[in-house]
Symmetry: C2
Subunit: 462 residues, 2 copies
C-alpha cells in the first residue's frame, strides 16, 4: 500500500498563491459536490478542489503534488459510471470547469483543438454551425477530457468509432509536471510510438489532458430510421448479428428490452410497444440507397420473427427516439427513486452477443434481481442495469454475484469487462482475468510515468 500525504496548510497557501483564492476550495459543500459521480460507488471527499485555467498551472500543481506525494484526481463533468473521478485517497481534485474553450477550430481540416473541460454536447452545438460534429457520444453531457480519459463511446460508434479513434493529438501534463504534446494533425502516421492511444483510456492515471485535437466529421442530412419489435430478446439479438453480418453498415443499432421500453414510455410520449426492440438507423448515401438498406433490414427482421417493423420514422420522432435512448440511464434512475443502480458494460465479439445477453438475463432471473437490458448491440456492447436497495444486504450479495458472473462470462467469451465506461473502481477485480501477464506491463508503464503513484490512485489496478 502506498502512503500519501494529506494536503496541509502550506500546500493550501501554495495553491492559493498559484491560482488565486477564489479557485481553491476546502469548504464542505464544494468537497461534497466533488465526492460522488453518477456511479453506485460510495463517495470520497477530497482535501481540496482546485480549478486550473491553463496547462502551466496544472504543471506547477503536479510538480508540487509529486514532490509532496499528494494524490491528484482530475474531474470533468462527474458523469462517470465507474467512480473514475473519485478521490479515493483524498488529496487534490482538479476540476476543469474553467478550461472549457474551443482553442482553434479548423473546419477546413475537419479538426478542432479544445480544452478538457468543454462538454461535448456544447461543443457539437457550436460545430453544427459549420456542418460538423464530433461523433463519439456517451449519453450524458461529458467533458472532452473525461471522454478522452475514458475512451468513451456511444450509439454512433458502430459507424464512426469511439473516442480513441477520433483523437489526433494531445497536450498532456505528466505526473512529474512536464508538459508534452504528442500525436499529429495528419490523419495518418507511422512515426514513433503511439502515445496518444496510450493516454486515451488511461483514466487520468498516466497524465492529465490539458488540450485535445479531435477529428470531426460532416453532418449527414439524409437518414433513415426504423423500429423493430420482437417477442423475445433472443430473436432481437439474432437479428443484430445478421444485420452486422450482412455488411449493411448501420449508423446505429441499439437493443432495448421490454423493461427499458416501459420506462421510456412512462417518461415520453413515444408510445412504443413494450417488447424487445431494436432502434436502427442509416445515414448518408442517396434516398434510394437508404430505402434499399431499410428493405434489407426489414427482410432480416422478418426472417428472425419480428412482430413489428416501423420504418420511415420522421425527423422529429427520430430525434425523440435517440433522446430517449440517450437518457435511458437517467429515466431508469428516475423510475427507481432511492434505489442504487449498478450498470454492467460488457462487450463481446458480435458472434457471441446473443449468448452474452442470454447469460446476463438468466443471471438476473437466477438471483431474482430487477434488471434493465439495453446496449450498443451492433458493437457487441451490453448494458444491464441492476436496481436495488442498498439497505438490503441480501440484495447486495445477489447483485455482486450476478455482476461477477456476467462480467467473468464476457471475458471467457473473449470479451472485455468494460466496453466504454472504463475500469474505475468497479472493474479492477476483473483486470487480472482479462489481461493476464500484460497487466504487469501496464503496471510498469504506470510506474514509469508516475513513480510516486499520485495520479488518480485507486483506479484500474487491483
Amino acid at each position: 500500500m502506498r502512503s500519501f500525504n494529506p494536503v496541509n496548510q502550506k500546500d493550501l497557501v501554495f495553491l492559493k498563491k498559484l491560482v488565486g483564492e477564489q479557485r481553491v476550495a476546502t469548504g464542505q459543500s464544494y468537497l461534497e459536490l466533488h465526492s460522488a459521480d453518477e456511479s453506485y460507488h460510495k463517495g470520497y471527499f477530497p482535501d481540496v478542489v482546485v480549478w486550473p485555467k491553463s496547462g502551466e498551472e496544472v504543471s506547477l500543481i503536479m510538480k508540487m503534488a509529486h514532490e509532496r506525494r499528494i494524490p491528484v484526481t482530475p474531474w470533468g463533468a462527474g458523469t462517470s459510471l465507474e467512480g473514475n473521478p473519485l478521490a479515493v485517497h483524498k488529496g487534490i481534485v482538479l476540476d476543469f470547469q474553467q478550461m472549457d474553450r474551443i482553442v482553434s477550430l479548423r473546419a477546413d481540416a475537419f479538426q478542432v483543438d479544445v480544452q478538457p473541460g468543454l462538454k461535448y454536447q456544447d461543443m457539437n452545438r457550436t460545430l453544427s454551425r459549420h456542418g460538423l460534429f464530433f461523433a463519439p457520444d456517451p449519453g450524458a453531457n461529458a467533458t472532452i477530457g473525461g471522454m478522452v480519459a475514458n475512451n468513451a463511446s456511444g450509439v454512433r460508434t458502430i459507424k464512426y468509432g469511439g473516442t480513441r479513434d477520433n483523437v489526433l493529438r494531445l497536450e498532456v501534463v505528466l505526473p512529474t509536471g512536464e508538459i508534452i504534446r504528442t500525436g499529429t494533425f495528419a490523419h495518418k502516421s507511422s512515426s514513433g510510438y503511439d502515445l496518444v492511444h496510450l493516454f486515451v483510456g488511461s483514466e487520468g492515471t498516466l497524465g492529465i489532458i490539458t488540450e485535445a485535437t479531435l477529428r470531426l466529421v460532416g453532418i449527414l442530412e439524409k437518414y433513415s430510421a426504423a423500429i423493430a419489435n420482437f417477442e423475445s430478446v433472443e430473436d432481437a439479438t439474432n437479428t443484430v448479428y445478421e444485420i452486422i453480418g450482412s455488411g449493411l453498415g448501420p449508423a446505429a443499432l441499439e437493443l432495448l428490452d421490454q423493461e427499458t421500453i416501459a420506462v421510456i414510455n412512462q417518461e415520453s410520449s413515444l408510445g412504443l410497444k413494450e417488447i424487445p426492440t431494436l432502434f436502427i438507423e442509416f445515414t448518408g448515401g442517396a434516398e434510394t440507397s437508404l430505402k434499399e438498406d431499410l428493405q434489407r433490414v426489414e427482410d432480416i427482421c422478418e426472417v428472425n420473427q419480428s412482430i413489428g417493423f416501423e420504418s420511415g420514422v420522421g425527423r422529429d420522432e427520430r430525434n425523440r427516439l435517440w433522446e430517449a435512448r440517450h437518457q435511458a440511464y437517467e429515466l431508469i434512475k428516475r423510475n427507481n427513486p432511492g434505489l442504487s443502480l449498478l450498470i454492467i458494460d460488457t462487450a463481446v465479439p458480435i458472434s457471441r452477443y446473443s449468448q452474452m445477453v442470454h447469460f446476463a438475463r438468466e443471471a438476473i432471473k437466477k438471483y431474482e434481481i430487477k434488471g434493465y437490458v439495453f446496449g450498443h448491440a451492433g458493437d457487441g456492447n451490453l448494458h444491464l442495469i441492476i436496481a436495488g436497495n442498498l439497505d438490503d444486504p441480501d440484495f447486495i450479495k445477489r447483485r455482486d454475484k450476478a455482476n461477477e458472473e456476467i462480467v467473468s462470462h464476457s471475458i471467457s467469451l473473449g470479451g472485455t469487462a468494460t466496453g466504454e465506461h472504463g475500469v474505475g473502481i468497479g472493474k479492477r477485480k476483473f483486470m487480472a482475468q482479462e489481461h493476464g501477464e500484460s497487466l504487469q506491463v501496464m503496471k510498469k508503464i504506470k510506474q514509469l510515468f508516475d513513480p510516486n503513484g499520485i495520479l488518480n490512485p485507486g483506479k484500474i489496478f487491483p
Copy 2:
C-alpha cells in the same frame, strides 16, 4: 553508443540446439538475402539468420539474446521502404517465413488469428472464399508481422483505416523473453492501457509479434470507379480537398502525376492520358447511390477544371487500374534501372495537401531532380520518388537537401515525417522536430521494455 556482442560459436550451438541445424544459417548467401530491403539504404549483413516456428522459440532466443546483449531484428517479407528490418548492428535476424499460418478464422466474428510471417495478399486470397478481407493494403505483398510493426496502410485506408485501426489483439514476445497477450476479441473496450496500439507501429523495437488477431470486413460487390484528368497537379489536389470536404466518403482517392502515369502506360495496356490524374472509387450502397456519388464527383472535378472524366469503369479495367497503382513503385524502379530510389512519405492535414504537393514539386524543380509524385491523396499522404545515380555525389547532395526540406515542411504544416512507411533509418533525424518533448517519453518506454536495447537497434531514435 551501446555496445553489443557479436554472435559467437557458443551462441550458434545454442540456436542450433534450440531450433535445429536447418533453421540456422550463417552462409554468405543467406546473410546477403537478409541484408537489404526495398529501400535506398545501404545493406547490413547480420551474423546469423534464424527461422523460428513458434512464440516459445522466439521467447527462448530473446532470453539468450537479452542476456548476451546480442541485437535481434525481425524480418518479414523484406518489402520495407525505410530499412526497418536491416540488422544495422548485426546480430540475429529472425525470419518469420516459417510462421505463416492462419491459426484460427472466425468468419462469424469477422476475425482471424494469424502468425506474423503470413503475407497479406495470400491471406486475403483465403479470406475471399468467406466473403471477407483485411482492408489495409500496402502495395507490396508484405507480411502481417511487418504491417503491424510498421502500421502499414494503403489505398483502402481512407475508408477502412490503417493497420492500427484493424488489429484487435497481439501475442508479443518482449525483449526479455516474456510472452504476453494483449487486447481483446471484442470490437470495443475501455479496459486498461492500450498496449496493442503501442506495439503497432513500434517497428519491432518494443517486442516481437508472434500472433495477431485482425478485424476483417465483408467484400462489397458493388463499386464504381472513375478516372479524372487535370492540366495541373494543383487542380487535381484542389479537387481532392473538395471531394473530402463534400463528405462523399470514397473508398479510394489516389493522385498520380504525369511522370507516374507515363511509367504505368509503358508497362501496361491502360493507355491513360499522360497528365495529372485522380483514381476515384466508391463501394457498397445501392447502384443508384453509387451513380449519384459519381455524378457529384464529376461536378466537383468540373468546377476544378478537369479536362477529362471517365466513369463507369468496368471490373477488369478497374482491377488493372489498382494493380497498376499498387505496382507504381515497382514500375518506376523497373523504368530506372541502376538508379537508387528514395521515397518520401509525408502526410499532412487534408486542408494542407495542395500546399504540400506544391512545395514538394517546387523542391524537385529547384534541385533539378527526377521525381515521381503520387499518393493516397484522400488521406493527405504524399509519395514522391526521387531517382538518381548513387555514383554521382552531387545528386546525393541535392536529393538529401530536397528530402530534408520536403519532410521538414510537412512537419511545419502540422504533418508527419511518415504516413505509412515507418521511421526506420531514414526518418530518424526528423523525430526531434516532429515529436519534441514526447520523444523523450518514447525513449523511456523503449528503455522500460528493452533495457539492453537489443531489439532492432538503430531504428526510430536519432
